[in-house]
Symmetry: C2
Subunit: 197 residues, 2 copies
């Protein structure tokens, strides 16, 4: 259980009532230095494990590094771009998400591999939010660096990284990121994303 | 609220404790003929709306058809392959999920568009499960048919379809699908999807 102060949580300003975990989910950049229990981490990945996928292929794979293992953490940190390295170094857990782009069964291209990885990460994030943990996903990564460092086979695509941790104080961030961390959240209106046929 | 009997729900046989909505989520093919309230549908899409995305691009779009509007439902049904048409015709709501493959800001390719659509659908599904609704996603669709029928611009990719509805009786399905509907669920073990660096 988190001992950090639950401050500056930017809940979704939703137009319709939504589940409190979806409302509370948010991608902060300020994390406390409190570590995440390995058993609890397993619960998060168990939630990911039960995501749906095309032909139940389960194309999601994860490389996980906890800060306690400084060698593993430093290695995985190299896969982030410089901007993300700047803030994510303070999070207690770093994860690289990979998509297996071919089907186990017949080697055909799996067009939904990335889509299904996204679903698995969303599952993990719900479970995280339930335990007062926050997840911040990053598109800004260096896939080729990951391929070099981890000798990743050709049909596995390093797609995304994310941090997991308890919320920290925005004051630990630089001025620009601190401003982002406390500014209002925004989304397109519902009628821009739903097209009635 | 659903008036149908809550029977034959195949909960996840999880190895670690996970949130009850993640445990309960499942993709059945038997749906009751009970309709889904339009306001409740809006709540589901509101949950999708608050998903995270690369650069907050929100690349998800949805074409929605309720069975009550038979013309819209018939039109959207044409985008499924024959196998999926066979069972999905009985669901009360049919949705086509599209990914906008370029960034609004500068027209660059958005490599995470499909990934983020997946996250939005996971959000929607989580909210659906809370209201006793089930979602069944389908990869087996005809994207070109969608492009023709709906005059979809080039940078929007029809990626996936899904049904939304209350659970029905497996007996309404053909013999083969009925067997699938009641057989055990399976997932890769956790140590196959987590690679410790």
């Amino acid at each position: 259980m988190a001992t950090t102060t639950k401050q500056n949580i930017k809940q979704a300003n939703a137009d319709y009532p939504i589940h409190k975990l979806i409302q509370k989910r948010w991608s902060p950049r300020s994390f406390s230095d409190e570590s995440v229990d390995p058993e609890l981490l397993n619960q998060l990945f168990e939630a990911a494990r039960w995501a749906p996928s095309s032909y139940n292929e389960q194309p999601w794979r994860f490389i996980v590094a906890r800060k306690e293992d400084s060698e593993a953490f430093e290695k995985l940190s190299q896969v982030m771009n410089d901007f993300n390295k700047g803030w994510a170094k303070d999070a207690p857990v770093l994860v690289l998400g990979l998509a297996k782009t071919t089907f186990d069964l017949d080697g055909r291209k799996n067009k939904h591999a990335g889509h299904d990885l996204g679903q698995a990460i969303a599952h993990l994030t719900f479970e995280a939010t339930r335990h007062e943990l926050y997840v911040h996903q990053m598109a800004g990564i260096l896939p080729q660096k990951a391929e070099q460092l981890y000798k990743i086979p050709e049909d596995y695509e390093p797609m995304t990284m994310f941090t997991i941790g308890y919320k920290g104080r925005p004051e630990t961030l630089g001025e620009k990121l601190q401003k982002q961390e406390t500014s209002a959240r925004s989304r397109k209106p519902l009628d821009e994303i739903i097209i009635n046929s």
